[in-house]
Symmetry: C3
Subunit: 130 residues, 3 copies
């Protein structure tokens, strides 16, 4: 999937559609990002301010251009993106019940692009069950 | 399950009982929290001071009432709880071997309530195997 | 597996060999660390500086000998190791496709030893599929 650069992308509807298309009623949905500078999270899906504040938090924890970092091949957001990735998730498992991901009311499944520039990101969705 | 507010809750015995009741000898046990302000972790289970220190750590990283945060609808511990959740786990997989979760000697499975007030938390346990 | 102390250990080749030996073509590979002071991550595998910078980051976030920590039974790197573990992963699931872990080009599977002294670490690899 394409991203337009740093930020969060709600995958919930796409993943629910994939689960529904498999016809599985009970099982598990696994989501995997094949990158080390983008990640996944299950996050509050109602108020967009939550995801703005998460960016604020990460910018404080792992700022771009941090002089302590030596891996800067791809610019000031290279190493900060790796740090943000390892602090969050590369893979998630969500139970499938009654043919849908059994997310809580306020849970959304988000891809988190940590690079500033747009990227193409590969995400593998695997469903198991019956 | 009910929580009495911020803190850690050892789920290990309950989960071991559920695994045993399924009769599965070899497989996987998946634990999923349907919330974005409570999370899971596998943590040292011997000295309670570890979990006290983890609260100290989180209070430093993501303090309640942080003026940088804009999502404050539910009070000063609202956004800090979301941050603490995304830094830890919403789901865990633990291998099942010889009919029990194959935890290490010092590993306990904990629910971590990040809100100060008591909450009711929904946790889905899924076992697979034979 | 033995570690020589704090640092990262690339498990990718060993895990790929295990997956290949099972003959599974499509499925899932689960990796589980039975410890609370060592963890797992999927990290950039090309430039070793990335993993040096990650140690720098963790030393800043969760320094050894932090006076705020009370759990110091095993020395100044005891509690810092627990913190680093809960900020990263105890278990990972990687999809298996065409008989191999479907890692991205730049993804490696790493054990992260957080204790300074050498340790023996137990890692459970579980493969499912057909």
């Amino acid at each position: 999937m394409p991203t337009t650069g740093r930020g969060t992308y709600d995958l919930s509807n796409q993943i629910q559609s994939i689960v529904e298309s498999t016809g599985i009623r009970t099982g598990m949905c696994h989501i995997f990002v094949r990158h080390t500078s983008a990640s996944l999270m299950l996050c509050e899906n109602a108020d967009p301010a939550v995801r703005v504040d998460l960016e604020t938090f990460m910018q404080r924890q792992a700022p771009d251009g941090d002089p302590a970092f030596t891996h800067t091949d791809e610019g000031p957001d290279d190493m900060s993106a790796h740090v943000r990735s390892i602090l969050t998730q590369t893979d998630l498992n969500v139970p499938v019940s009654e043919g849908r991901c059994a997310l809580g009311t306020w849970q959304g499944i988000y891809l988190w692009e940590h690079r500033i520039a747009p990227h193409s990101r590969s995400v593998i969705i695997t469903t198991t069950g019956e």
